[in-house]
Amino acid sequence: MSGLELLTWGRGPGLVLALGLCIFGVILRFAEILALGRRADLALPRPNSPGSGWRTMLTRSLPPPGMLRRAPLTYLGGYVFHIGMAVAVFLFVPHIELFRGLLGLHWPGLPNPLVDIASIAAIVALLALLVGRLVDPVKRLLTTTGDWLAWALTFAPLVTGYAAYHHVFEDYTLTLAMHILSVELLVVVLPFSKLFHAFSLFLARWYNGEISGRKGVAS
């Protein structure tokens, strides 16, 4: 299969397959989580914390006092990676064209050099987080195979995207195809792994904040 054939497959059947599996997984998992339900809480809610869930959605994104100093790599690495990745995914014009093709929605993008800086920052942050995980015995102990896999699957689209943009390899078409295929792999695994937090994060935070607020724990 030539690079162009692979690329065309990735833009056609591969994309359909990946998106199909992803949406299937996301809906399945949400249905499963939401249908679990909770037993009715018969106690009176504590009155002093309305909107606790909504506040928690935001406050959990900020480090609790003192934690930034104790675990700077985890926090800063996490921020840089997530923001860098979001910029690369949502503000690179060719990516916006993809969203336009899929959803009919589009928005202005950033000049390429800025997106480039953001993706390099994301790559460096991911590498730093990996090293941090490898050298810290406690983190290493806590890390499962699924975590290593999630790291690799997230890293692959970033490096292949970087390689394609900078023509690191002679065959640009093949590199671009690899980039698209690596994204598709990530998208397929996403709902069935810890990476599902991309979807469940805010709902989970809202729920935790709300239930805690009800029980009198201020957010």
Partner: protein
Amino acid sequence: MNRPAGNALGKVFSAAGISRRDFLGFCATLAAAYALPASSVGAIAAALEKAPRTSVIWLSFQECTGCTESLTRSHTPSIEGLILEQLSLDYHHTLQAASGEAAERARDESMRINAGKYLLVVDGSVPLGNPGYSTIAGVSNVDMLMETAKGAAAVIAVGTCAAYGGLPAAQPNPTGAVPVSRLVRDRPVINVPGCPPIPVAITGVLAHFLTFRSLPELDDRGRPKIFYGESIHDRCYRRPFYDQGKFADSFDDEGARKGWCLFKLGCKGPVTHNACATTKWNNGVSFPIQSGHGCLGCSEPDFWDAGSFYKALSMPVTPVRKAVAGAAAAGAAVGAAVAFANRAKKTAAKAAHEAVKVEDLTKKS
């Protein structure tokens, strides 16, 4: 058409009124294209001037004659055109005056006299689905190709059809069209793709053969690296706009008028290898992107099947909505089933629940 061999190229040039300066200019272009030192210009000129006329047999199969048009109607009078003139084009059924039996006789004769030395140029793809799909003088394309290739010094597949199958091979490939390289295995095959190819890419390969008696360096798709080594995007003068994020959104908006990048309008320059952006067309006048239209990617294999010409390279080539809706419905159905099973488990656990009494705790087992 059928001229005696032995008439050197130098004589043809002077007879056509091409000045020495123009001729050396062409040689310098060739030297630069082949990354040779400036000192080699004289040697190239001497070799070309003395080059004996090489016999060429040109076979046209499933094609549209665009490749021949591109070459012969490029710009007149051109040295590229004269290179072709200088070749002893012994058989080209579109251009030659002879027809029928006489034409076929010319081919047979040339193959016999120049055995092992002639160049075979092919445009068009070869149908394997049924030999009757395309025939010349009652001979199927595949038979004619194999017979003629046997005695050729090299085979030049001109145009995307001959090089990769092209339009005839586009899905569902009704004639079972294949490229020349799929059939000819025991002779060097050089691909000069493009729909049509740039004239200088064709003559550049011929001139290389005349000068060095060998073929230029090829890439992994059999194309001469000097013309196909770089992508259109790498050499595109609109590239700074791509990098700045300035794109035309339609063929007639402000961006288009300002000459911004055509990526959003479907330009395939990033994945297309050709020399259009540097050599340009019509004697260096322009090329598609300069004329305001994105690159179609015509020198790449299967470009017909690589999605719409007017969709950005990052856009899906097939509709996804139906599949996604189906997947969502399936997800909801399976999710409901899982939820139902979980509920049933919960209810069963509840039913099986046994209350612990004080006696149970104090009981000695």
